[in-house]
């Protein structure tokens, strides 16, 4: 375990990322409230060096959650989030949600957690005082209560809300008889949880944490500790707080945009047993028997991530022919070359290869996670590129798959069609790159792509994806303003605002919804509040098409001037020259923030090799 002196001296010598790594190690070995508080105290003065995303979290609760707070804040810190936490009054969650003057609304959270437990919400059910005849009425009442509270929150706040489901008792009051028929205690709790899910699904920004499943995962009998409950009214045991904190982090990462977009994997002893260059195609371990089946489980977990929209890439020290032969000829392989958007099979360092992959895929280095069985490779990547999320693997392949599945940086709260199809976009991308090699001029290349776009006002069907793009897009994003689904909905309903979404495709495939322009109108000035494109389509003049569309729309509604800011971030340098390149002139500048203006009496040209699809006509 790293000792405290080493951490303090790393901070004193301004090695901030190394200090953070050491603190993570110390905390993971003993995730106690004391160690969490040590971490928070040491990190406080170096926070501005850690590029943290701020997040205000309100915890509304019916039980003692206080020991959770430092643990949650420490884990959030390791994941790049500066969590500011407000804990609501003990069992006062209804009042706080219903009272417009409550501390909750004063605090103005980004995210609220409603942490309740069955014995507080439905005591008659927990204590076995209700009868079978009551069970449906109880479930309906609990559902209606939740719906009422969500309504109250929504009328005053756009905060995301995370609801805990209600947990089952370890021993139902009626014993094994509870499982007979469908009006038992556990079945009634299931009914309440179903109601809760239905209510959550009807409301934007409301998510369900399956608290009962979480307890089951770690063991119901060891989750709580009767001594703590009877002496301190604390239903969780010492080890359970960190499990609960890690589960909340799974929600906070996608809500704060701190997720990984790509997984870079090693091959030998990671997705098959043995070294193909030495053991040969028939000598590697992969198949129905241990350890081959353990590696098969790893591959299954990786395929599941691919289905979730995570981009896959390979970095392996191997002769390319040896490695590729396994993909082509080994019968047991679940992963195929088509799953991978980029491959680096060579003898260069992993760090160097990972940097190349990031630039080939056009994603930030901090959007990459790395899976390798070799602790030395992991350590090297951690040291040379601390931004990369390095996944720790236990000794022995039997637990590799579970380690990968428990990694929180791949969590998503919504899965769009774009996420599901992402793998095939990148395959088409490789084919486009080959075409570009053969094209004579850039314009020839654009023409040969046969790009078609559709630009339309946001609809209920596209709101989720539009919000997701504002939250995730970093590089081609002029202002990097992050919006929730609720905020997009509000803007779409406001006559002064316009939210346009761009969908694109070319002869190699559909890109899906990849561009967003949000504008507002004031007098004769139209201001571009947000303008962003997914990195998948940058450099194909789709950006010009979207800007031209914005200008035309503004001019046709009587605007004379188009304005837009460039607000610099650590990542959006690629969009810095966008406005001047399109004939805008700078009218204001301070601290790197630049305001540009365009006179709408001139037409802002549409790139004629991009076809605009009007509603109803086919994409291609």
């Amino acid at each position: 375990m790293p000792d405290r002196k080493e951490i303090i001296s790393a901070i004193e010598s301004r090695e901030h990322l190394r200090a953070l790594g050491l603190m993570r190690q110390l905390f993971n070995e003993a995730p106690t409230p004391a160690n969490a508080q040590f971490v928070l105290k040491q990190a406080a003065p170096i926070r501005e060096h850690l590029a943290l995303v701020p997040c205000r979290l309100a915890i509304l609760r019916s039980f003692t959650v206080e020991p959770l707070v430092p643990i949650l804040r420490a884990i959030a810190l390791f994941q790049g989030i500066d969590l500011i936490v407000q804990v609501g009054g003990f069992n006062a969650y209804s009042k706080e949600l219903l009272d417009p003057d409550s501390d909750l609304y004063e605090f103005n959270p980004d995210v609220a957690i409603l942490a309740t437990q069955t014995r507080d919400v439905l005591p008659e059910l927990w204590n076995g005082d209700s009868t079978a005849a009551d069970s449906e009425a109880l479930a309906a009442r609990a559902g209606a209560d939740i719906e009422h509270l969500i309504g109250a929150l929504r009328s005053r706040s756009n905060a995301h809300l995370i609801l805990n489901t209600l947990e089952m008792p370890a021993y139902p009051n009626a014993g094994i008889f509870d499982g007979q028929g469908n009006a038992g205690q556990c079945e009634t709790i299931h009914g309440v949880n179903r109601h809760m899910r239905e209510v959550a699904a009807k409301n934007l920004g409301v998510y369900v944490l399956d608290y009962d499943a979480l307890i089951a995962r770690f063991g119901r009998l060891s989750w709580g500790d009767e001594s703590k409950w009877l002496t301190m009214r604390m239903p969780l045991g010492a080890d359970s707080f960190v499990h609960l904190a890690r589960e909340y982090i799974r929600f906070l990462l996608p809500l704060c945009g701190r997720v990984c977009k790509a997984l870079v994997i090693d091959l030998d002893n990671t997705i098959w047993g043995g070294v193909v260059g030495e053991d040969g195609l028939d000598g590697i371990k992969l198949g129905a028997e241990y350890p081959g089946n353990a590696y098969l489980e790893v591959q299954r977990a990786i395929v599941d991530l691919h289905r979730r929209g995570i981009i896959l890439a390979i970095c392996s020290k191997n002769n390319p022919e040896d490695a590729l032969e396994v993909f082509k000829r080994h019968d047991a392989m679940l992963l195929r070359m088509e799953h991978f958007a980029a491959t680096r099979i060579n003898w260069k360092s992993k760090a160097e290869n990972i940097r190349e992959v990031a630039s080939e895929l056009n994603i930030g280095i901090d959007a990459i996670a790395f899976l390798d069985d070799n602790p030395l490779e992991r350590e090297e990547v951690r040291m040379l590129i601390p931004e990369v999320h390095v996944i720790d693997l236990p000794d022995g392949p039997a637990h590799f798959a579970a380690a990968l599945r428990s990694t929180p940086v791949f969590e998503r709260l919504a899965l769009s069609q774009e996420d599901r199809d992402r793998g095939s976009y990148y395959l088409a991308e490789r084919q486009r790159a080959q075409l570009q090699g053969g094209a004579v001029t850039l314009e020839d290349y654009y023409r040969s792509l046969g790009m078609v776009v559709e630009i339309a006002a946001v609809t209920s069907r596209t709101i989720a994806r539009v919000a997701q793009l504002t939250q995730k897009t970093n590089q081609f994003n002029l202002t990097t303003r992050r919006y929730s689904e609720q905020e997009i909905t509000a803007k779409a309903a406001d006559a002064r605002w316009r939210v346009d979404a761009l969908t694109a495709g070319d002869r190699f495939g559909d890109y899906g919804l990849v561009g967003v322009a949000i504008t507002n109108r004031n007098g004769e000035v139209c201001e571009i509040d947000s303008f962003l494109l997914s990195c998948r389509v940058i450099g194909r003049s789709v950006e010009t098409a979207l800007l031209s569309h914005v200008a035309r729309e503004a001019a046709s509604s009587g605007m004379r001037t188009l304005r837009g800011w460039y607000l610099p971030t650590r990542k959006n340098a690629p969009s810095k020259d966008f406005y001047p390149k399109h004939g805008f002139r700078m009218i204001d500048e301070s601290d790197g923030k630049m305001l540009f203006e365009y006179d709408l009496s001139k037409e802002l040209g549409w790139p004629d090799w991009v076809k605009l699809r009007t509603e109803g006509s086919p994409t291609r």
Binding site: A30, P33, S227
Partner: protein, 80 residues
């Protein structure tokens, strides 16, 4: 774990959860003479000790843990 190491561990935990400098925590420190050692700190001390020592204290043990010295007594008796 040596006696010295155990004392250091307990003092560290008390200092960290009470958010005071380690120098202010002595064997005699208790909720009565260390203002920052409040009921929440007490909960966090118990939880941290349980995780560090891999033992779940009984309600009777928790009731006895009211100073650094008393905590050490409970831990020593437990280990014996």
């Amino acid at each position: 774990m040596t006696n010295e190491a155990m004392i250091e561990k307990v003092r560290n935990i008390v200092a960290e959860v009470s958010e005071v400098e380690i120098e202010r925590v002595t064997l005699q420190s208790s909720p009565a003479n260390l203002e920052e050692w409040d009921s929440l700190a007490q909960v966090n001390i118990v939880l941290s000790l349980e995780q560090e020592f891999g033992h779940q204290f009984s309600p009777e043990q928790i009731e006895r843990m009211v100073s650094v010295e008393k905590i050490l007594e409970v831990l020593t008796a437990q280990a014996a």
